[in-house]
């Protein structure tokens, strides 16, 4: 079983590359926090970078990119519902 790798695994970025991407994005967030970029630009950047990090973890570490699409649906649907609730909560 040693060295077993599926075709999907061969064609994707390595876990280490994803990890470096996550660290890089977090470092940028901390950098933005340090130089005190004002909202709304900072808010947009934070949401963009955190969204990218969530997508990277879900797609590559949780394997949603290559797994059955039903798993993605089970995860994404409540997230979308949550976003609607969160926006309504802020708006009320």
């Amino acid at each position: 079983m040693q060295g077993r790798a599926t075709q999907a695994e061969k064609g994707r970025p390595g876990y280490g590359v994803i990890f470096l991407g996550l660290v890089f994005l977090t470092a940028i967030e901390l950098g933005i926090s340090g130089v005190r970029i004002l909202p709304p630009l900072s808010t947009v950047l934070y949401l963009l970078f955190s969204g990218m990090k969530v997508a990277l973890v879900a797609a590559f570490y949780m394997h949603l990119r290559e797994d059955n699409r039903l798993y993605t649906a089970v995860f994404v649907l409540p997230v979308l519902l949550l976003l609607v609730f969160a926006l309504l909560t802020i708006a009320i």
């Binding site: 040693q2 990890f19 934070y46 570490y61 949780m62 039903l70 802020i90």
Partner: protein, 198 residues
């Protein structure tokens, strides 16, 4: 019962009637319920944050929590590396990655306890006001999830040491990994909403 129906029953019992592993699907459904659980807490936090304003949030130690965030992100890498190792039949590496995951999880919890103690010293407690209540409830529940994950990792480690996990039986590691990565995702959102967007 027809041959076709019998085959379907057999597939269901084997755990792949939909072409899906039932344990994995169950974990994803649990994660979906957790999305709503944390979603409710985050929505409550945001509601009060935008209605009342949280000046106390400016006192939060972003650098310390930033380091803690890096620790949790690193633990996600070690978990996925542990899964890759067990799938390749590399038992020693699997044990090492999982041990590292446990240490990183404990380090994250240590950082969180330090942060909580610091806030309490500044007078921010669970009962000191709306900020304290919503902050400690949200981050506290996340910390409990990390603590649960550490215990789960220890159980998985023990199973690995006993040799009951291997390349053919790695689903238990994958399911544990899904939980751990989800806890990491929740923290990515909390770090942004609580510590960065103030």
């Amino acid at each position: 019962m027809s041959q076709h129906a019998m085959q379907h029953v057999e597939d269901f019992r084997a755990g792949h009637a939909l072409g899906l592993d039932h344990r994995k699907l169950g974990m994803w459904m649990f994660i979906a319920s957790e999305v709503m659980f944390f979603g409710g807490l985050i929505a409550a936090y945001l509601h009060y944050k935008y209605r009342l304003g949280f000046p106390e949030a400016a006192e939060l130690n972003v650098v310390l929590v930033g380091i803690n965030t890096m620790v949790l992100l690193t633990s996600s890498y070690t978990v996925v590396s542990a899964l890759a190792a067990i799938r390749q039949g590399r038992q020693g590496r699997f044990i090492a990655w999982l041990l590292l995951t446990i240490l990183l999880g404990v380090a994250f919890l240590g950082g969180q306890i330090y942060e909580f103690a610091d806030l309490v010293r500044q007078g921010v407690t669970l009962t000191s006001g709306v900020f304290g209540s919503s902050f400690f409830t949200l981050t506290g529940f996340h910390g409990l999830h990390v603590a649960g994950g550490v215990l789960w990792a220890i159980v998985t480690l023990v199973r690995g040491l006993r040799g009951t996990l291997n390349a053919e039986h790695s689903m238990a590691v994958e399911i544990f990994g899904l939980y751990w990565h989800f806890v990491d995702i929740v923290w990515i959102v909390l770090f942004t909403q609580i510590y960065l967007i103030v």
